[in-house]
Amino acid sequence: MKTDGSMTMAQAAGAVASGRTDAEGLVAEALDRTRAIGSYLNCVLQLLDEDALARARAVDQKRNAGEPIGPLGGVPIILKDNIVLDRGRTTCASKMLERYESPFSATVAKKLEAAGAIVIAKANLDEFAMGSSGENSAFGPARNPWDPTRVPGGSSSGSAVSVAARIVPGALGSDTGGSIRQPASHCGVVGLKPTYGRVSRYGLVAFASSLDQIGPITRTVEDAAIMLDAISGHDPHDSTSLNLSPTSCAQTVSRPIEGLRVAVPAGVIDEIAHNGVRTVYQDAINACRSAGAEIVEVALPVFKSGIAAYYLICAAEASSNLARFDGVRYGSRASVAPSQGLEAMYKESRSSGFGPEVQRRIMLGTHVLSSGYYDAYYLTAARARRLIKEAFDAVFRSHGCHVLLTPAAPEPAFRIGEKSDDPLTMYLEDLFTVPANLAGVPAITVPAGVVIEGGVALPVGVQFHAAALQEDTLLRAARMFEREVGFDAQPPAGL
């Protein structure tokens, strides 16, 4: 059976399990699509062709022998290239790790492989996951399949593009301040950031450890549930992973929630400057009503402080995490004259290995953690962070809402280069996504409509949040919305 990449993960797994298609064929076609489309969109940094084909053949042999192949047996997937695999390279889209080969695989990769999935490639990203456009890659920007002159969003740029362009049905990204959800929204696909601690971070190259979380990018809410079920659960290798069993959201995702209460932030509509995004968001509220939900307006003024708190906290944590890249134990080392000594080697290696945005955040973090500024900046941001968490608590407890609905991003995908000279403007792109990371709650973006920009249709998503560990509720509400809206637009064929 020839496929065109339009199968969902659930369909692909079913097709392999039933013998309607072979895993090898499915993987070979995904590799072909990557070579045909992926190189133009620059969404993939490395293909694992022979390795992936060999693993696919092993799945086929197991199935033919009547052995279990796992719930994702033979399904091709792509990992963001800040998630390590024990083969090939893990570059984080940085010159610093251009030739880095990890000696072990991330827990999420092992879990997906244990479920039968086949990793066919590593996806492009903003360097060390720092960016909101995909432009901060040392290996060039990924392009948006809806309009290749535009960014796909970031930092999980290549993961979102690979799923939107139907190269693979699912990919993993990582989300520190919106890095799964914002590119998913800009590419017309589904992006889920789980509750902090739901998914092991072991083998994710750390950016901001109290905010980072790995999650799926898929084309349907059901597939997001399937992937979450496969990657979640306690991991003794990650001390921040919660001592909980894996989720079983795929079983329940299609059950509507009776008496669904959807919170919307008071006044948010007036704050959306982009007309198209405002219309899509307003329509999304109406779609929730049509699906039987009650809309509850809640005041969330503290969310406006999210960006300020977030960029102080993430920069502080990044400056600490990225101190490990010193040219000694791994990564690139600049050659300096022996007489110059160790410190010169550190500085040369770091200055030539890190790109501008990474250096900017390391310096911001170093400054806000430095003596005399720690209270004024870092602790102030950490106090604001608590207010944001308490605001979420009020939505879900005091107001008794199941989910909170916000826009996913202030505007649709912008043109490559449009914001790259102004870091602050780029940071504001994360306005609606950072609160979930600060509070640690799960959030999902779902395609909601399209807007026309420069004669081109661009997708726009909306975002649902739920209380910590309520992924089941979150996914069921998102599935109700998905069904109600029936988004079926696709990027233009023949890219």
């Binding site: 902090y196 921040t240 503290v302 708190a309 160790l342 200055s351 900017r360 430095s370 910590a468």
Partner: protein, 113 residues
């Protein structure tokens, strides 16, 4: 070290010289041109985050992590680490059983200030 108040919006938060100092703390080397660019950009970011001071944060406990309690104690049992050969292969420069680095003392910058 006394408490330093963040600068007001009227003056740039960071001067080029300060940016060089921060870069040194972060073990980065900047040209004057880069230092001037980062000084301007980071000053804008620092001016933006001043809005946090308008929040009523009196008595609010800083939230450093999403979990109130994390880091469950684990048994202090030895576990297998990476094979030393693997570690040496990852290092940019190694010699025999050791990772090689430039000399630690006596470099032109005083070797690790």
């Amino acid at each position: 070290m006394g408490h330093k108040h963040p600068p007001t919006n009227d003056s740039p938060a960071l001067l080029r010289e300060q940016t060089h100092r921060i870069a040194h703390l972060a073990r980065l080397e900047l040209t004057d041109e880069q230092a001037a660019m980062y000084a301007t950009q980071l000053s804008r970011v620092l001016a933006y985050v001043e809005q946090l001071r308008a929040l009523d944060l009196e008595g609010v406990k800083p939230m450093l992590h999403p979990h109130d309690r994390y880091g469950e104690p684990v048994a202090d049992d030895p576990r297998e680490g990476l094979d030393p050969g693997v570690v040496r292969r990852l290092a940019p420069e190694s010699e025999g059983a050791f990772i090689r680095v430039p000399k630690v003392l006596g470099g032109t910058e005083g070797g690790g200030a």
